[in-house]
Amino acid sequence: MYRLLLPVILLLALVGVSVLSDKPSPRADLVFINSSDVNTLDPQRMSWMHDMRTARLLFEGLVRNDVLSDDFAIIPGVAESWSVSGDGRTYTFRLREDARWSNGEPVTAEDFRYSWRRAMLPDLVADYVNMFMLIEGAQDFYDWRTEQLDAFSQRSFESPAQRQRSAYDLWDETVAKFDQLVGLSAPDPRTLVVQLSRPVPYFLDLCAFVVFAPVYEPLVAQYERPDPTTARLIRRPGWTAGGVLISNGPFELTRWRMKRDMRLEKNPFYWDTGAIAIDSVDIPSINDPNAGVLAYQTGAVDWIADVTAPYRGEMVAQKQEYLAQHADEVARLKAQGLDQFSIDRQLPPDPRAHTHAVSSFGTYFYNFNCKPYLPDGQPNPFADARVRRAFAMCVDKRAIADQVRRLGEPTASTLIPPGSIGGYESPQGLPNVGDASSETERARIVAKARTLLQEAGFPEDFVVTLSFNKDSGHDLIAQTIAKSWQKHLGVGTRLDQKEIKIFRQELKDKQYMTGRAGWYGDYGDPTTFLDINYSTDGNNDRAYNNPRYDGLIDQAATELDPAKRMALLGEAERILVEQDVPLIPIFHYATIYMFDPQKITGLSTHPRTTQNAYLIDILTDAKGPNQPRPMRRPAPSSQEPAP
């Protein structure tokens, strides 16, 4: 009989052992849910927003963006001051003396040279390698290394031992080549001189981008060495593990368990540790959107950085209802120039006030395939800009934003969210049926569109295909667009719903007619959006090619005067959204946050949607100043950052 109990006893022992060996740690000062599991904490290799959100807690670049200022000003980071040469091509950074790694070692100019070299290597395949190519000689270095690696794979060797030796020799040669070719020098440990291949007015903004943050060479170099057979630098993961990673930002990583949680503790060696009002941060990995909201409601989580629960539309609607109940008070506070979080903080507490729709640095749009022929070999009516303009005017953007998305997102008439980039004037964009102020105006827009189609000789009973992937409500948006085209232009439509991988492949291969798309900007310059329409750009899914547009982008690249440069880029965007229209901007994204405004302060409402979570102060605890941190208006004279 007792034999029967054996499996039960075995199972019981198993459960007992694993429960006893696993003790949860006390709750951190700040617990927030990132939008997804971190893919990598290697700054040079990252490209995901959730990775960067975490990395900004751990790493600090030469400079930072002041996310709590309305103009997203550049403020000192590791560099305490900097100067730019007259031709805009040489940047000299002075590193602060008290910049420290989390093991107490000083952060030096060599650390930056080492880290940026990593990013410039073809071996490491960094997604943002292009940004580093702005540095003098970087492209030559990249090409040289690529050639050498190719040549190495063709070479024959007498023995594996010799092959291995040559692989290491090639690496030594590569390091020497970098010193010789690339315009990055460190005359002393606290001075970094960067030579650019052309003036890059937004270079400081790039330096604030976390991909430009330094890594600790003595640690990272242990995990990277030339592969004995291919000579390619191979990296072994492991240096970003909890308790192993050495970083130079406000926090250090003490634990990282896959799919489970990440724990950050204050970096005792950080130079500005006095400004940090929280001692520890927990980032639990909660991937189910609903579980995230539930966890928030039980108080286990303080902030959700991206609410994606299917009912978030209702949450936003309830918030708007709440704001409407206090409309007078809201109007009064708005008139004082307060930002949306500060307004929420002044209103009576209410669970509905915990939902926040924040404008984002991204745009949802529809692509037109601009190639002369469609995948089936038929002539493509959308190769004609007049047809594209007509279709763009007749998408009911208002209905999509207000009835389908319901997140309070603004309709878009431009690719770049207006007001997100300082000094940049957005073009007007095309009139749109959804945003028409009256019925007569709407009729006028439709008539204009129909005339355009007639002029272009748009074929009768042509069926327009809309391609999209099947998740995230793209189907509802496609239906709305199809309905507006049927209604206003009288064309037939076909909805083509695809699995996401197939959909992306078809976009890339231009095997579509019109298709949904979206883009988030990376840095504070119009080119972060406009580059994707450059004829040879890898993200030009539209096969758009206008030499005049390319010319304006090229011209802006060498223009030294910031105002003139912005005007050139503004003209390029005008061509894009008013004249050629290879894409239809539909709305600018909003991100939905959940947090209690009475409890948390230090989050930014700037449309660049960048949060430096180390600025957060929990107002209800005993740590930090416990003073609200509102958005600040730019000081009148702060055009240039003080050197």
Binding site: M1, V15, S18, M258
Partner: protein
Amino acid sequence: MMTMILRRLIALPFILLIVYTITLTLAWVVPGNPLENPEKRPKPEVVEQMNKQYNLDSFPRFYFSYLSSATGLKYARDAISGQLAREREEALSRGYPAPVRPVFDLGPSLKYDDKTVNELISETLPVSVTLGASAILIALVIGMGAGVAGAVKPNSLTDHVTLAVAMIGISLPSFVIGTVLLLVFSIWLGWFPVAQWGTPRSIALPALALSLPFAAYIARLTRMGMIDALGADYIRTARAKGNPQRVVLIRHALKNAFLPVLSFLGPATALAMTGSFVIERVFTVPGMGEHFVSAVQNKDYFVIIGVVLVFATMLIVFNLIVDVLYRWVDPRIQ
């Protein structure tokens, strides 16, 4: 008995080879490139470099190179040819630390850059095993209790109710059960934490949700076995000897009725430990189950193959254990 175990163990690598071949082929034909950030495309050169680095540009090359590193053949070959020692020497002589190479290398994760598949599995498998084992324990208690209760008085109200509940347990999808449990016990009553792992309290709810379909199945198996057993001659003999009901039921009838349950336990345990991705998602349990789904979506070849191989191995091993136990419990079986 030994020959049976030996035969199964010899068959294991061949079964795994077939599983590997089928899995990789299926994963390979799915369109898309695992190396591409879905929204922003890296330069074509970048993708080309990465394809080269991971052998993603050639199916046969990938097939054989992965096979040899995952099975430890590559390690053995390098150890014999002196390659390992050479790499070590060269690295040390140039001031690099000695290279670390696992014997069975399941490769890197293409999506989670900072982790190897070995690490991913070793971090998440214990969680899934704990959850699965707890669920099977709960399932055994609930299922056998309900099964015996039903079988003692067949066609009584108790019997019908337990059967009906069991039917619901089998047919209700686990995300419904999970969400209801979460809502009632965590949100409304506040008895259990949400989205936590590690304490018995945080394991209880997901384990319960995961156990219900198994419990229902065990209840039906037990009931059938018990009804069969209770009608048998030896039970009448046992009763005639004046044994109390409790002894008859547990010592005589249940012992036989348990055998079908035991054979169900092998695949059930493997399934509970690895196939719990819906429950893991609903309760945010940091287990391995979700890799099954997300790796396929991400086309993360190394992770897909790694978790499938681990699952296949577990399935085979648990079935083997159950067969051994089976013979031990019931020596009549040969």
